[in-house]
Structures are given as structure tokens and as C-alpha cells.
């Protein structure tokens, strides 16, 4: 069962993260922490019209949270707000599925490797940490990637 959690894709992203490091310029930044374990992430979003021109991040944390940030970068970098919204929604739904959803690789790419994480309730927060920080950073950059943000904007 533990192999489903620590899939090679996740370990690869953890050991060799994509797009890591905070970059300029950026339109919005958010810093999120997981108070129970001390994991931290800073996420920056640079928007160019309706496109996510750059997504950059830095943080400390476990393999799940750090690999999740790397996958997020791969999936959302250069995408339109609408596309990012779809991916974001699909990833959050997968994490909240308790392992009951078959993820769509077309939408989630390497993110499908996180299906196993959904079976470990204590680790779902780790996987979602970068995605929640991204949502806030995107909103601050003027890009809405979730229904709740759009409603309150």
C-alpha cells in the first residue's frame, strides 16, 4: 500500500523539482503553512492577460508537499485561467475523493500519481498546501482559478 503513496513519479519530482525558486516579476504572492507539521510554501504568480506567464515557488516540507508543488508548476505554467481552473478543480477533487475517483491523465498529467495520497487523510493537507497557496497568489495577481474566489471577487 505504501508503494501507492510513494510512487516513482512523486519521488522523482521531490528529488528533482521542476520550476523551483522564486522569480521576478510577479503579480501576486502567497505564503501558506501547515501548522501541525511546520511545512511552508511561498507561491508567486505572474499573469499576462488571461495567461499564467510564470508560476514560481519555494518551500520546505515533505516529499508529498514538495512534489505536489513541482507537479503544479508543470501543469499550470503558461496555461490560461480557464485551463488552470479546470486542473485545480480536478486536483482538489482527487485529493478529497478518499481514493474513490479514477483520475484523468489528460487533465492531471503527473498529478495522477497523487491518487494514492487521497487514501492517507493525514497527508491530503500536504498535497493541497501548494494548490491552496497558488489559489491565493493567483487571486492577488488578478487571476481567479476557483469558483469561491470568483464569487467573492
Amino acid at each position: 500500500m505504501i508503494d501507492q503513496l510513494y510512487q516513482d513519479i512523486i519521488l522523482d519530482h521531490y528529488k528533482h523539482p521542476h520550476g523551483r525558486g522564486l522569480r521576478e516579476p510577479f503579480g501576486g504572492e502567497a505564503h501558506h503553512v501547515n501548522p501541525t507539521c511546520g511545512d511552508e510554501i511561498t507561491m508567486r504568480v505572474a499573469a499576462d492577460g488571461g495567461t499564467l506567464a510564470d508560476v514560481s515557488y519555494d518551500g520546505v516540507g515533505c516529499s508529498i508537499s514538495q512534489a505536489s508543488a513541482s507537479v503544479l508548476y508543470e501543469l499550470l505554467q503558461g496555461r490560461t485561467a480557464d485551463e488552470a481552473f479546470q486542473v485545480h478543480e480536478a486536483f482538489v477533487a482527487l485529493m478529497q475523493s478518499r481514493g474513490q475517483i479514477e483520475p484523468d491523465e489528460e487533465v492531471l498529467g503527473d498529478g495522477v500519481a497523487f491518487a494514492g495520497v487521497a487514501r492517507y487523510p493525514a497527508r491530503v493537507k500536504c498535497a493541497l498546501l501548494p494548490w491552496m497557496a497558488f489559489k491565493d497568489a493567483a487571486a492577488r495577481a488578478g487571476v481567479n482559478v476557483s469558483v469561491s474566489v470568483e464569487e467573492t471577487a
Partner: protein, 409 residues
């Protein structure tokens, strides 16, 4: 009496469990201890045969409950060598006990700007945050002892830190993260020399070693039941009688009063003054049974067993490549709580892989974030031992760490 760990283990039903197909290896007793059948039976027996509210009923069940509740108080008093039973205040946990003293201190010590409260960098958040809040409320200043690279309290600044402005010093007796056992003698002497009070957070010491409040010389100690074989929901504040008498109630209500009119209230003497509302009766009785269990084994024997396990564990962990231990590297002046890191692997991942092998450890900042910051890590992995821990379990931990290294190689 010789200490027989196999006989002790037979009293703990949960130790028969399997986790993910492996025998349970419970190495998280500093978080919460497991409970022996004797404690579980005492609580069930009370609920099934004697349940009534305490201190307010003339009927038989109420009287039996009151007697059992007060007997538990007497057992706890004897366990820590308290001069008087009335110096034992039952609380919900250590956190409430410390908050009680912090709340009452504003009035008791007439705190204001210029006064100082002293803690240490080694504290659990529950012995740090209440004092931060007290200082915010009163304008007093919070100061603290540092921690040395070896994980000891840095007492080199004692005479400067504890001075004529100091009103209260609140220090951990045994660190929940580094395992360090502090000898409070010099700090207590210095504090009393300048007229300051001393509270010791004994949450990790009372369960594991013989503790006498007279020997410690402190003015208050706080500890909790669930870390010493008792249930959750019951903690203890011990305070010197004259201080408790001078303190205002913290959570006021039924039981805390002497006379109430619509215009005002006079309050009962301690400990009732501090036990507002229906107390955790069954839990207090469970704690009393836990004290009986520990007393029958002898705290010297419990402590000696844990010292042996700790020495074995320190060596076993040091032998695993890439493992760095935080805190004292030898068993002298430390208890059976060992925190460490595995090079290149986050504690969350260490704990997850160990759990897959049935080994239950704590990961994270252990409610002592300043300690993690002091040692430059966001989190630590912690293995903590108790009277039921065996060397076989330490071997299982060491094997598990080899597996961790393999997965993250």
C-alpha cells in the same frame, strides 16, 4: 522488586494489536501513553457501579463518587510528595494548569510594565504562549533561557535573566522534544533569592521518574494524566498552599463558591476554588488507578528501565547512517524521548514509512517550534519510550529507518 517488562506488557491490551500487518511498536508515549487494564477496569467499574455527581449529593452514589474522587486526589498528592492533599488541583490537562497560574499571576503578582517573566527556548508551546499572553495583558516583559548545541538549558545567563525585576520563572522539567532533564536547583535558588516564583512543567517528568515537589523546591508544578497511563481529560496543578489561597478563581462557577448573592460571591478555599463545574470524575479515578499501578511497580524501577532502553536506542540510532540525534547524546540527564532527523528525508515521510511497518512515532514540530528553529530544521522525528518499551522495539525502529533510507535513496 525486579522489573519484568513482559509482565508489564501483558497488562496493556493494545500492545497485542497489529498495524498494517506488523506487530504494533508504540514509540509515541511522550505524546500519549497507553493504558493498562487496571486503569480501564477502574473507570468501567466506577461508571457501572458508583456513578454520581461529586461534592453535592447526600445519596449513596454521590457519596461513593465523592469518596473515589477525593481518594484519587490523595493518591496523586502522595505520588508527588505534596505536603497537603488540598494542594492538588484537578484540571483538564497541563495546558489548563499552566493557564490557571498565568491567569492568576496578574493579580497575585500585581504584574505591570517593568516586571519580567522568564521561560526558556526549550518550552512546549503550552508553557510559552500563556506567558506571552500574560505579558501582552499586563505590560510585563517575557525573557528566556537559550538552549546549548548539546540540547541543554543554557544557564550561563542565569544571574542576568533572573533578577530583581523577575516575578515568575516557568521552565520545563523534562523536554518533550529533546528529552533533556533539567536540574532546576540553581534556577529555583536564584529565583527565590530575588523573590520570584517558580513553575515547573512536569508533563514529561512525573510519568517517568520519581518526583517530589519538596525536593524540586518549586512553587507550582503542572502535569497531565494521559501521559502517565491515565485517561485524557484530567491534569494536575500542584501549588504551595499559601499561594493557592491568595489566587483568584480561573474558571468560576459551581463548586468554586462559598456564598453567592445577586450582588457578589465569596469563593471556596483551594482546591475547590479552581475546580468550577462538574469535574472529570471518572478520569480522576482513572488517574488514581494509574498512580496505583506506577507506585506498585516503583518509579525508580520504571526510570531505570527507561534509562536502559534510552541507552540502547541512542546507540542503535547512532549506528544508522545519515541519522542525526538532537539533544543529549548519552543517557545522563535525559529521559526516554529521542528526536532525530534522517538526512534528506522529511520527518513526515519517515513517520509514514515507519507506520507502514507498524512503528508509531511522532513527526512535526512537537508543539515546540522554537526548538526546531534553534536546531535549524522545520520538523523532527521523535521516538519516545515508556515502561512497556523493549529493545526488540528499538531494533524494529532501526530496521524501519534502514527501509526509509532505501525508499528515499
Amino acid at each position: 522488586m525486579t522489573f519484568d517488562v513482559a509482565r508489564v506488557r501483558a497488562d496493556f491490551p493494545i500492545l497485542d494489536r497489529k498495524i498494517n500487518g506488523h506487530p504494533l511498536v508504540y514509540l509515541d508515549s511522550a505524546n500519549t501513553s497507553q493504558k493498562p487494564r487496571q486503569v480501564l477496569d477502574a473507570m468501567r467499574e466506577h461508571q457501572e457501579r458508583h456513578n454520581g455527581n461529586v461534592s453535592r449529593s447526600v445519596h449513596t452514589l454521590g457519596t461513593e463518587s465523592t469518596t473515589a474522587y477525593e481518594d484519587a486526589r490523595a493518591k496523586v498528592a502522595a505520588f508527588i510528595g505534596a505536603p497537603s492533599v488540598d494542594e492538588i488541583v484537578f484540571t483538564k490537562n497541563s495546558t489548563e494548569a499552566i493557564n490557571l497560574v498565568a491567569y492568576a499571576s496578574a493579580q497575585l503578582l500585581s504584574l505591570g510594565p517593568g516586571d519580567e517573566i522568564v521561560v526558556s527556548e526549550m518550552e512546549h508551546h503550552s508553557n510559552l504562549v500563556p506567558w506571552q499572553l500574560l505579558c501582552q495583558r499586563t505590560g510585563a516583559t517575557l525573557r528566556w533561557f537559550g538552549v546549548t548545541d548539546e540540547g541543554r538549558l543554557d544557564e550561563s545567563t542565569l544571574d542576568d535573566l533572573v533578577n530583581e525585576r523577575t516575578k515568575l520563572v516557568s521552565i520545563v522539567h523534562m523536554s518533550n522534544i529533546l528529552g533533556t532533564i533539567n536540574d532546576p536547583a540553581r534556577i529555583v535558588a536564584r529565583a527565590h533569592e530575588v523573590g520570584a516564583l517558580v513553575l515547573l512543567d512536569c508533563s514529561q517528568s512525573v510519568p517517568h521518574l520519581p518526583v517530589s515537589v519538596v525536593g524540586l523546591g518549586a512553587d507550582f508544578i503542572a502535569f497531565t494524566g494521559h501521559k502517565m497511563l491515565g485517561p485524557t481529560g484530567i491534569g494536575v496543578l500542584w501549588g504551595r498552599s499559601e499561594l493557592l489561597h491568595a489566587m483568584p478563581p480561573f474558571l468560576a462557577g459551581g463548586s468554586t463558591i462559598e456564598t453567592v448573592t445577586m450582588a457578589g460571591t465569596t469563593f471556596a478555599p483551594p482546591p475547590a476554588r479552581f475546580e468550577g463545574g462538574t469535574p472529570p470524575i471518572t478520569q480522576a479515578i482513572g488517574l488514581g488507578a494509574a498512580v496505583d499501578y506506577l507506585t506498585a511497580l516503583g518509579m525508580e524501577n520504571v526510570h531505570r528501565h527507561e534509562q536502559e532502553i534510552t541507552a540502547y536506542a541512542l546507540k542503535a540510532l547512532a549506528d544508522v547512517p545519515g541519522v542525526r540525534i538532537f539533544g543529549p547524546a548519552t543517557p545522563e540527564g535525559r529521559g526516554g524521548t529521542v528526536s532525530f532527523e534522517v538526512d534528506g528525508v522529511h520527518p513526515h515521510d519517515v513517520g509514514q514509512i515507519l507506520d507502514d511497518l507498524g512503528v508509531e512515532v511522532r513527526v512535526g514540530h512537537h508543539c515546540a517550534r522554537p526548538v526546531c528553529a534553534r536546531f535549524g530544521v522545520p520538523a523532527m522525528t521523535r521516538a519516545s519510550f515508556y515502561l512497556y518499551t523493549t529493545t526488540d522495539e528499538i531494533d524494529a525502529l532501526a530496521r524501519g529507518l534502514e527501509q526509509v533510507r532505501k525508499v528515499f535513496a
